[in-house]
């Protein structure tokens, strides 16, 4: 069984990323189960998707300390989900932080770098993705989810190859978004390999 947690901020596209993973795994004859955050939290709150791939899966929720991989769409959200990670699990995280309004109002001075430092000292296998050049190359900030997916696939975390995810994207996304997302996927993969 492969357990995966995607953690981010409402609006970052975690649900689509988790669906693409599940769809690809299903295409390979695997059983999948997911749990999504849909509702109020989608307006800038914390969102978490659980994806489980295997033979017999009962619960859609990943138990604590059993995730093989956490894909953090935002540094603090990766840290928030860390209790899910297995001892030998891997974390793939975007370095770009999102500062909530509450932080500016309360002067708590949240900095993503502090979270990344924590991850560096607490996670054995960590891949930090600098998403800015990928955004620039793709001409959109909306490709974060796909770029991280590319990084995860390249890191070999869910027994799914990059080519297999490419095929799912070609089949499942609307025509006008395919080229841009394939570009983001490959760029994400390349960054991960460099790390």
């Amino acid at each position: 069984m492969i357990n995966c947690i995607l953690a981010g901020v409402g609006g970052q596209g975690t649900v689509l990323a988790s669906k693409l993973i599940a769809q690809t795994a299903m295409g390979k004859g695997k059983n999948v189960r997911t749990a999504e955050t849909i509702g109020m939290a989608q307006r800038g709150g914390c969102v978490v998707s659980h994806v489980r791939i295997g033979e017999e899966i009962h619960s859609p929720l990943v138990p604590l300390r059993s995730a093989d991989v956490i894909i953090g769409f935002e540094p603090a959200e990766a840290v928030r989900s860390l209790p899910y990670l297995k001892e030998e699990g891997i974390v793939i995280v975007s370095q770009k932080d999102i500062k909530p309004v509450t932080d500016s109002l309360a002067n708590t001075n949240y900095e993503g770098t502090e979270m990344l430092d924590y991850l560096k000292s607490h996670v054995k296998r960590l891949i930090i993705i600098d998403v800015e050049p990928i955004f620039a190359a793709c001409g959109s900030t909306r490709v974060l989810n796909i770029a991280l997916l590319g990084a995860a696939a390249a890191a070999g975390v869910f027994d799914i190859s990059l080519a297999e995810i490419e095929r799912t994207i070609e089949h499942k996304l609307p025509q006008q978004f395919i080229a841009m997302n394939l570009k983001a996927l490959r760029a994400g993969a390349k960054t991960a390999i460099k790390e």
Binding site: R33, I38, R43, G44, G45, P63, K99, V101
Partner: protein
């Protein structure tokens, strides 16, 4: 047979299509919304409508069911409170075509006002309840629900919870579709409720309960497994957690899975209880299965100890999880588990409550009202929708919020208690049509001084942008006559009605001040589309030479696109929708638009 990756709600929709459903009605509500949307998307041959509220939805479906159509009604748990009037009476009349009322419960609650348990509604109305534990099971179970409905001529409740509704799984779809030949409506006194008929039907309903209970004892998803002196009873998603916990702990005991909590499958339950010393009941929301088992032990003098929520072995509020269930099972079966150690030295994490989107017109409307009432005694009653998020700081503009449509009437009660305050009621367009209108009539009739603020963003935003009577679009893809809220208010007798673009802050504030000076009910309609249905305007940016770092824009508006940057502020271009209000608020004219 074809495998498809489906969300639980999609599986329910496809299961209903497979069962030959002919009419589907509902009102959007998390976590139920995608069911009706999927029927509309996947099958054009079926009549689908978003009704104006849950009561209307259930009544429309009732008419079609009287004529022999298979019908499905969808809503969230609190929606059934609104539909409870037709529900209770329909239980007495019954149906001809199968009727499944899908009511999604939300343990947590994750996106709801209450943690109510719809299984109680089944008991209250004496209706059968089905409780699926996974998307693939829901796909098949809804077909069973239609069959039972027709077999007993009664509406049935189908109660998934959030983790079933909003989880994806591999579902094996069947190609064959059940064909329903509706006979049409045949006139008969049995379709009109009268006291005498109700008495006679009540007798029949009571006689039916034990028959259904017996029938359910052999229902395919009610099951007994395992053996031993200890047993676990469970249902819904908690059953999935139980299986996971038992397989992780390598625990063995007798297991009773309850898929029809009402009428309770007594015969099967007795078989389960026989020979047991102790039972742990694992369920979410209320102790429904637990109470049934306690009752059965009393009725049959069984010396079995029943543990669960009533005995504090299972938490009585909030959602269950694999961890909480594993802990309870490990204590029950006395199999030690390694407790998950909390992570040490975690840094302080930013608090991230949901907020109005950058560029949301509601932010501008709230701000305009706030400015107009500066220094005055005013109370702001809110309602249910995205604009409930106007509660967040710095806006802090939701003083009360109760249920759909209640803001308008609560403001009237507050006025009776505090006539010296200006009492505001905020309501969105979809909620206005849902249950807002009677409250307006109440204020006109009773001559109550309130200011009604309509936040008209041309959509049902919170649940994912569904059409409603004001949008002129239906779920059948037709264009219908748009119902104009200003004309509705006028017809109801509201004397002062102004319509404003909220992004013009100064004029909007002036309009609110004027409205507050009137006697009786006066209304300001803030009309501007939700960013999800509008085209974005060019983004704004901060001139860092002019920005003094006073952060007034953040402190006043709290737009998530404005972030601190060293000692100044910056606008995140990927979030900004170019609504312009930050530029209007900045005292140093440091924020500007594209040119």
């Amino acid at each position: 047979m074809a495998l498809e990756l489906l969300m639980g709600n999609q599986a329910i929709a496809l299961g209903a299509i497979r069962s030959g459903v002919g009419v589907v009605t509902g009102y959007p509500g998390t976590p139920s919304t995608e069911i009706l949307e999927t029927v509309a998307k996947r099958n054009p041959g079926i009549y689908v409508e978003w009704s104006v509220n849950e009561k209307s939805a259930l009544e429309v479906a009732s008419g079609a069911a009287f004529a022999g159509f298979r019908t499905m009604v969808t809503m969230k748990q609190v929606g059934l409170n609104v539909a409870s009037d037709p529900l209770m009476s329909l239980a007495y009349l019954g149906v001809k075509g199968g009727m499944v009322i899908v009511v999604a419960d939300d343990p947590g609650p994750i996106s709801s006002q209450t943690e109510q348990d719809t299984r109680h509604f089944g008991i209250f109305a004496k209706l059968p309840v089905f409780d699926p534990s996974s998307p693939e099971e829901a796909y098949l179970m809804i077909g069973d629900a239609f069959e039972y409905s027709e077999k007993y001529n009664t509406p049935v409740l189908f109660r998934p919870t959030t983790r079933v509704c909003h989880g994806y799984a591999t579902v094996d779809l069947e190609e064959k579709r059940f064909e329903v030949k509706a006979e049409g409506f045949i006139k008969d006194p049995k379709w009109a409720i009268f006291p005498r008929l109700s008495y006679l039907n009540h007798l029949k309903m009571e006689a039916r309960q034990p028959v259904l209970s017996e029938d359910f004892s052999s229902y395919r998803y009610n099951s007994l497994q395992g053996s031993g002196k200890k047993g676990i009873a469970s249902g819904g998603i908690s059953y999935a957690y139980t299986c996971e916990a038992l397989s992780n702990l390598k625990g063995e005991c007798k297991i009773f899975r309850v898929a029809t909590p009402h009428p309770f499958p007594e015969k099967l339950a007795l078989e389960f209880l026989t020979g047991l010393d102790e039972v742990l009941v694992i369920e979410e929301l209320d102790p429904v299965i637990e109470k049934e088992l306690v009752y059965l032990c009393g009725k049959h003098h069984l010396p079995v100890r029943i543990m669960g929520k009533l005995t504090k072995h299972i938490q009585n509020a909030g959602e269950n999880s694999v961890e909480s269930v594993s802990k309870a099972v490990s204590e029950f079966l006395r199999i030690p588990i390694h407790p998950v150690k909390p992570s040490e030295d975690m840094p302080a994490l930013p608090v991230r409550p949901p907020v109005l989107c950058a560029g949301c017109p509601h932010r501008a409307s709230f701000y305009a009202v706030k400015q107009a009432m500066k220094g005055r005694k005013a109370v702001f009653s809110g309602d249910i929708g995205c604009y409930t998020l106007g509660n967040a700081k710095p806006l802090d503009m939701v003083d009360t919020c109760l249920c759909m449509g209640a803001g308008i009437t609560i403001a009237q009660g507050l006025h009776r208690a505090e006539p010296d305050a200006v009492n505001f009621a905020f309501i969105g367009d979809s909620t206005f049509f849902h249950t807002g209108i009677p409250g307006v009539i109440n204020a006109v009739y009773n001559e109550t001084d309130i200011v009604l603020i309509i936040l008209d963003n041309s959509t049902t935003a919170m649940t994912g942008h569904q059409p409603h009577p004001g949008t002129g679009k239906t779920m059948m893809g037709n264009i219908s006559e748009k119902i104009k809220i200003s004309e509705v208010l006028k017809a109801l007798g509201v004397k002062h009605i102004t319509t404003m673009n909220p992004f013009n802050l100064q004029d909007s504030s002036a309009a609110v001040e004027e409205a507050a000076a009137n006697k009786g009910i006066s209304a300001v309609i803030f009309k501007s589309p939700c960013i999800a249905v509008a085209d974005p305007a060019p983004v704004f940016s901060v001139d860092s030479d002019k920005c003094t770092g006073c952060k007034l824009c953040i402190k006043e508006l709290g737009c998530p696109a404005i972030v601190k940057d060293n000692n100044k502020v910056r606008i995140d271009a990927s979030l900004c929708y170019g609504c312009s209000i930050c530029a209007q608020v900045c005292p140093f004219k440091a924020i500007g638009g594209a040119n």
